[in-house]
Symmetry: C2
Subunit: 589 residues, 2 copies
């Protein structure tokens, strides 16, 4: 459905009186009133099926619009949210002592070859220019920043150094989806840290985590911080920041009792549990290696839970009992398309077995006859067969998946649960992963040979965060924004019968701020051609944290109605104390 262009929101022009700073994105007409603030919204409540589709709400609300598959234009409301989010990030980066710069979006194949990341990345977008210069669009800037700093920093005295930017990044996404959550062009905050000694780098890492926690706390939304694998970014220390959401593509595991949180790759088993598995409880799957030469047989137990069974002789026995809650009868066959449900493929891969996890069943069947080798992998709970049909059976590995309800690896009483989550930020300790190949070396205090710097890289997905927050807070009436990134904190809505000056009077009260007093970032909707009901639905759709209505109560007794959907507030207020009342509500949001 095409979003429509609104007629124009207005508010009093305060530019001359109070300086420019409050009027950045709002337009002023020649009669000294704001007009033409672009709100291309349908102004009606979400339609069936749209409630869960926050991306459709962002489009309908006039925040953004898809330009091409996975590529978006930010409209004025969306840009306002993005600029407020950027401001919040700047604030927390400043507490870290990080300096802001702006790296080019263009990088080169040569530099990526030097770091060794060129061939591994299939999502690089290449530029074809007249000189065939091997230009790429950066999906991330480790190479460029390391090369830049290598040319400018030569002594430990110049460290620590913390540099960040907020800029567009590019990825040749195979299947762009869910709007801002997975796009080809996206906005990231990326911070790079440089230290001399390893222990300094770890201190820096901790200070970044503190800044990230403070940043997320200000959004006032629940988030998870998961231990994470640093993957092909190198290094060992890494954390992911997640919002729990059914739209998420990551699995985050957490304990019902302690604060253990880990992502799918890193979630651990409780290792000291041992028990006996009934031999019949076995599944086996067939896979193939990425190079198509090797057939891989995997033997795992049925999903089972360790229970302590009292025996007839008075002793107790640890026994694994099957869990039909995990294994629906329909999946009882060892169909390889379900392999990921039963086998921890991360563990298989860690054992240096290059199993192809993306292959489809029919393709697999056509390739199997051509394989020349066969290897077997047995989970540690599955006993070896007497005569394995391969000459070199692999050792027992721990490749059973973890299932919801499994015991927590950290505490005695907790059970693990898994939730779908959206990853919105990530911290990495990189070590010398980039400083070594790109020769970012510094002299130390001891006059010894130069050493590669200790680096960290720390991202926040800015556009993804906007999409994630929109999805987190959307309800059946529309979007809903945390105060700190809302396009406006408050909207003053008037019935068409209320004189223009009345709306402006209320607006002025909310915006009036002496030094040291907070003001409420407000916009007026006094469009005369729309009904009050239409304008309220529109305000709900856009998701202003607080709505101030000049309706019947205003005409009868000069009182406004203050609404806050997130807290179910709908209350009449006098003008006296209105600003304080609204600020009090905003403090909760």
């Amino acid at each position: 459905m095409p979003a429509r262009l609104g007629y124009g929101l207005r508010r009093c022009n305060l530019q001359k009186r109070r300086g420019f700073q409050n009027a950045r994105l709002i337009s002023v007409d020649s009669r000294n009133r704001l007009s033409n603030f672009w709100t291309p919204t349908g102004g009606i409540s979400p339609q069936d099926g749209e409630q869960d589709d926050s991306h459709a709400l962002l489009v309908r609300g006039g925040f953004l619009r898809q330009a091409h598959s996975g590529v978006f234009h930010l409209l004025p409301l969306g840009l306002r949210v993005q600029e407020r989010l950027s401001w919040l990030i700047d604030k927390h980066m400043a507490t870290l002592g990080a300096s802001k710069l702006s790296l080019s979006s263009i990088t080169t194949e040569a530099l990526w070859r030097q770091s060794g990341r060129y061939s591994a990345n299939s999502e690089l977008l290449r530029l074809s220019d007249r000189k065939d210069s091997g230009f790429l669009l950066s999906p991330t800037h480790e190479e460029e920043i390391t090369s830049l700093v290598a040319g400018m920093v030569h002594s430990y005295k110049d460290l620590p150094l913390k540099l960040y930017q907020i800029g567009r990044k590019y990825r040749d996404e195979r299947r762009p989806r869910q709007g801002l959550l997975r796009a080809k062009e996206f906005l990231m905050k990326d911070l790079y840290t440089f230290d001399y000694a390893h222990e300094h780098a770890l201190q820096t890492y901790q200070s970044v985590r503190t800044a990230y926690n403070n940043f997320f706390d200000e959004l006032k939304l629940p988030y998870l911080v998961a231990d994470a694998d640093s993957g092909n970014m190198g290094g060992k220390l890494s954390h992911e920041y997640h919002f729990v959401s059914p739209k998420g593509e990551d699995n985050v595991w957490s304990c019902s009792s302690c604060d253990y949180v880990a992502n799918e790759e890193l979630v651990e088993k409780r290792t000291h549990d041992t028990g006996r598995l009934p031999t019949s409880q076995e599944l086996h799957f067939t896979g193939i290696s990425v190079d198509r030469t090797t057939k891989i047989h995997i033997h795992v137990p049925y999903p089972a839970r360790l229970v302590n069974v009292p025996c007839s002789d008075g002793t107790k026995l640890n026994v694994y009992v099957p869990r039909p809650d995990i294994l629906p009868p329909s999946l009882l066959s060892s169909d390889s398309t379900h392999i990921e449900k039963f086998v921890n493929l991360h563990a298989v891969k860690k054992a240096a077995i290059d199993i192809d996890t993306g292959i489809e069943k029919t393709t697999l069947q056509s390739f199997l006859p051509k394989t020349t080798k066969t290897i077997h992998i047995y989970d540690r709970l599955v006993p070896y067969p007497k005569y394995p049909d391969s000459e070199i059976p692999l050792n027992h590995l721990d490749i059973t998946r973890i299932y919801p309800g499994d015991p927590c690896p950290r505490c005695e009483s907790g059970e693990l649960k898994v939730q779908k989550a959206i990853e919105v930020a990530h911290t990495f300790h990189l070590g010398t992963r980039y400083s070594e190949p790109l020769k970012a070396l510094v002299a130390g205090p001891d006059g010894m040979a130069k050493q590669p710097m200790q680096m960290g890289c720390h991202g926040i997905g800015v556009s993804r965060l906007i999409g994630a927050i929109a999805s987190l807070l959307a309800d059946d009436k529309g979007l809903n924004w945390p105060r700190v990134i809302a396009p406006f904190e408050c909207i003053v809505v008037t019935t068409p019968q209320v004189p223009e000056e009345d709306g402006v009077e209320v607006y002025d009260i909310l915006r009036e701020g002496a030094q040291g007093y907070e003001i409420v970032d407000t916009v007026i909707d006094d469009r005369p051609i729309k009904s009050l009901a239409w304008k309220l639905r529109d305000a709900d759709l856009i998701g202003y944290p607080v709505i101030v209505v000049l309706g019947r109560a205003w005409k009868e007794r000069r009182r406004v109605e203050v609404q806050c959907r997130r807290h179910g507030v709908k209350t009449e207020m006098e003008l006296e104390g209105l600003k304080e009342g609204v600020l009090k509500l905003l403090d909760l949001l």
Copy 2:
């Protein structure tokens, strides 16, 4: 020469006391003092030959750094200048009632084919992605914005609409040069206007010109506004904003007496002058058509000036007399490599003769034997020969170039002069050039068929403006910034012997601002490891508008020295009245 990293500028942390707004790009250390503000400068005066090379000064001063040919990273100081410039643009766009958005950098071949610009543009950077989607990097956004607005605006009631963005653009520049002046990746402000009727569009055009003039006035630098040809952008009404500079690649013509200014394409001749040209005074050149099929002979007079010669019979005669000041003897041969010095090739091209202006002499010679046709072009001052050696000689055209000293076409007494200039902004009335092919139609008030919108597009080269201003104000000591875009308005520099608190005290006085009182945007350089002389040279190189020194006068009688290089000011001041004194100086900058 590689720029070096500074040790760190410090200033007092005001974050807790006065809110965050003043601390955006400056880092705070854990002892509540700012540190690690990244100033990778050599801290020494410009070297030989560097005075004219403002790009080298920007690199040495730590504003930017070349990443690849024509591709730059903005370092913290450079980003600060860019952000202040963007803020100034936002301010003037707000007075126009324009709303800010952010369009994707990615566009598509398909859309550019629809507007008819795809084949004409040889500077488009293409993306190669896995699906071969025909993605491009936008050099400008007419296609995208028109397509966006076409989908959202359907009635004249939604107009006028003014939308702008400040974003990166891309051009496959054949020879990137002069740093930010001609780069592959650059920052532009582009405003697009949409009106219903032609007369409204012209009003909009005038209001944009007013806003542009106000914007340039705030920079307090002399600029020229030239009538311009709108080229392949379509439409008729167009103006260019130029800074006069020897680094410029444009020629701007202006009158010594009236306010006539025009660019090379549009500069006019005084048409009512007629006179007789001595027949001997003829030059001819040989060229070739772009398709290599046609030899083109061009006949023009020697550069000449019309003079009024008193004759022996008492009458007066208008006669063209040669101008050896224009035509040095060494160029007397009709060597085609000098064709542009004598022939107005724009006029030749306007007569639909597709002459190849870029061909080299040797290449020309090798192609000439293969041509099948010959055409002759005679300037209107050159008489036809009796037997032209072509069957269809072309009519006389006005293809003589305009030379400095030629009479002004607008006033009686003025003479034209030409200056090298850098184009930094451009306004275009587009008409329906894009709205027609991209079907951006609106219904009118009369219920008649929908009509294409009347559009305008208006650019400011943000990164180019930074490069141009740097070049305009650089002197033998370094850069120099207009107050309104300086990275900081003022720097407090202390000798190593002055206690830290003293610098902070002066800093606090300059930053102290009650509501309504201006503050001075200040930074402190109290780096202990550098001498005062080093730090002053560094401050001169970076180009802070005002420098406040705590040196000998401070130690002896608690007075600071206030320096302003642009106005040759070096004066002692008491702390009492210091802020007012600095603000007074800043008002001039």
